[in-house]
Symmetry: C2
Subunit: 425 residues, 2 copies
């Protein structure tokens, strides 16, 4: 392959002509493919159908005689708390089971921080002149949207190979009392697929923080969502924070949205007992308790953490060919051309492409014009503003394999066309 | 029966001796009965078990091809919106389906009011010097708890036979811009069982209100929870508000908690399209959507509004003997003695007793000492403060009939003893 930046004008023209020919062929196929949402495909959802056929109609009594159909159980039934404490690698009294959405639990936690403060005695954030969050970027758009919605100022932090740039973070949090939190997707980070190194986790747990009510929002959405047999383990942030003498610093979140059903799974949060009590005392004003029958369904279906791990291997078997197709096609088309860098995630739901600077928006538009919808450029940055206009997020899980293949070929063509235009401009 | 207040000292002594004898007999039975929570009994929950045995495992696709197992559907699937719009007597685009808790939707609506304001352009309540709510009392404790939690000042309003005292309400809201809301349980009001008259509904819809962002929190929790065959109809508050030119004034709430499963039902809210858009635009930051499989379960099980109405007749058949027992025993024991007034609800979940002034707390304590737990005295008033210390809330739905009977006999005995002590003091 040839470095595009070293091509002669004539070579450029020739290559672009070929690419435009291929692009027009795609246009004539009138595709309508959606690569925007990291949602499970139908085959993945089928894996959990047994949960709905089960004997829950007769099994509504949890082991301790609690009728799961009735009111009660603010933080979950014991059997489900036990299972998902193992999943989150915490103690059952460090866990709260919620409804079907971990986003909901994060949102509510921050909203309570605004109105009531993040801990006993802390000033409600809405009474401060300003509240700021650190946002490792590229990151998860819905995290950023919560901040924007609530007027929380977002400070971008660079994502490196092993997690966010800790030098930047340490400097920020040591000096500014108004920095109250940081968003982290520590395993298979959205969208880069980065797994935080032990060193990064340690530094997050140990760093000197000016704000006493600073919280790490540890959205471990893909904790068991591996594509490889021997995944790199992630250090437990709660344990690290306890060892560092900062037990209240970490709030962990997770869900079974991409384990059982995306719309009907279980959400959960975890943290120190003090934090969980603080949250539960406030949740008691909000609800009598979450859907315990759905908790029971999950317990009856998965049985134990080994059941979950075995189940996730089936997900991986469905997802891996799609992720492989993304890698294979993009590498085949782009390798050596010096116009894009590609993430190689070992799990999670996304592949991240960094194009040349100033090209991402144009690529997304060009793909859309030929029928392939990608996540809008910029979405992975605070305020939807990718300052270098280069990050593109690919979500290969939902479409059938042949659509992933077609979409990726088109994306590769678009990247090349836009890059050539940029180089020759 | 003899008016206790006209008894001679000797008669008093004699009657009290008999009562104490009966009370001691109760104590010797070492009962542990809980009459505090308005939750369905096991037989009621059995009525909906078919919902869990159903063919949902194969029926996860809603009519429009939406996969209910996956993400999406912020305000509900079309089939469920259609069914529950009929239930709430609104249009489908005036309805939002939530998770399993209408309390949760009320709480979140008010919390958003605090942080973002109640409508486009309105000042967030947390930025005002104070926010006040009108609280018809006795009322629902969890409504009052939300206000107390958020520092919203509660102003009690008297409950009359046909709803809250509208003269008081109209005077309050016309003069005070900081009064931003009122709590209403318009049908079978908790705990009095009062059904708001058409006149009250009309006056609520038409009254002059100083605060432009004033909202009626219309918690119609017992809309179809009748104990009689021909219930008095409740006027539709949304229609009334529209006709009055105040379409945004009413926010309606409901749930199937006491139709299907108390812990795994569907919650909903309804109001003008403008209000629903305002809420949905904010909900979009909080969640991708509620549990659609549970919506589908409800649609498959109930089919249509007639299905719900037929189902509620089965609930009534279970509940009515318990409510009858409460009436029969309390009337038999107390009638003519001029020491207590009893509500005679035609639906809902509670019976309300007004004792002589200053007696409720002592009655609840005395019942507890003999093993019958009642809702703490004062709970039905803002700040748990019943100024006349006379209201007792009875929740007969959950315990078996014989326990309801035993508990009521004991309560009647306690009321008589405490009243005699009061009279002779």
């Amino acid at each position: 392959m040839t470095d595009f930046k070293k091509l002669s004008e004539q070579e450029c023209r020739k290559i672009k002509e070929d690419l435009l020919q291929r692009y027009r062929e795609f246009q004539s196929r009138r595709l309508t493919l959606d690569m925007t949402r990291g949602k499970p495909c139908s085959e993945q959802l089928d894996l959990s159908l047994g949960m709905l056929d089960g004997d829950i109609g007769k099994a509504y009594l949890a082991q301790n005689g609690l009728d799961c159909r009735n009111y009660g159980g603010l933080d979950g039934i014991p059997a489900a708390k036990s299972l998902f404490a193992a999943y989150m690698q915490v103690e059952p009294d460090e866990l709260i089971l919620g409804g079907n959405s971990s986003l909901n639990m994060m949102h509510d936690t921050i909203l309570r921080g605004m109105v009531k403060g993040m801990m006993n005695g802390a000033t409600p954030w809405s009474q401060l002149p300003k509240v700021k969050f650190l946002c490792p970027s590229p990151g998860y758009d819905r995290h950023f949207f919560i901040c924007e919605y609530l007027g929380i100022e977002m400070i971008p932090v660079d994502m490196l190979e092993d997690g966010p740039d800790m030098d930047q973070i340490e400097e920020f949090v040591a000096g500014d009392e108004l920095i109250k939190g940081i968003w982290c997707v520590p395993q298979y980070s959205n969208p880069t697929g980065v797994v935080y190194s032990d060193n990064v986790v340690e530094r997050l747990a140990n760093m000197q923080v000016r704000a006493k009510d600073f919280r790490i929002f540890w959205d471990n959405a893909y904790a068991v969502h591996h594509l490889v047999d021997k995944p790199r383990p992630l250090k437990n942030i709660l344990v690290a924070c306890k060892e560092a003498g900062n037990p209240e610093r970490a709030l962990m979140f997770g869900s079974t949205s991409k384990i059982s059903f995306a719309g009907a799974g279980l959400a959960m949060m975890a943290g120190s007992q003090i934090n969980m009590e603080w949250i539960k005392n406030q949740m008691a004003f909000q609800t009598i308790g979450p859907d315990k029958l759905n908790q029971l369904r999950h317990v009856l279906f998965f049985k134990d953490i080994e059941g979950i791990m075995a189940h996730m291997k089936k997900h991986a078997a469905i997802l891996k060919p799609k992720f492989d197709a993304v890698q294979d096609i993009l590498e085949r088309e782009l390798e050596g051309k010096n116009i894009a860098r590609l993430s190689k995630p070992q799990g999670g739901y996304f592949v991240s492409i960094d194009t040349m600077e100033g090209c991402a928006g144009a690529v997304v538009k060009k793909a859309a014009d030929a029928g392939v919808k990608l996540t809008p450029a910029g979405s992975t940055y605070p305020y939807k503003n990718d300052p270098l206009d280069r990050n593109i997020r690919i979500a290969p899980s939902f479409p059938p394999l042949e659509n992933v293949q077609a979409a990726m070929e088109l994306v590769a063509i678009c990247i090349q066309i836009v890059s050539i235009d940029k180089i020759s401009a």
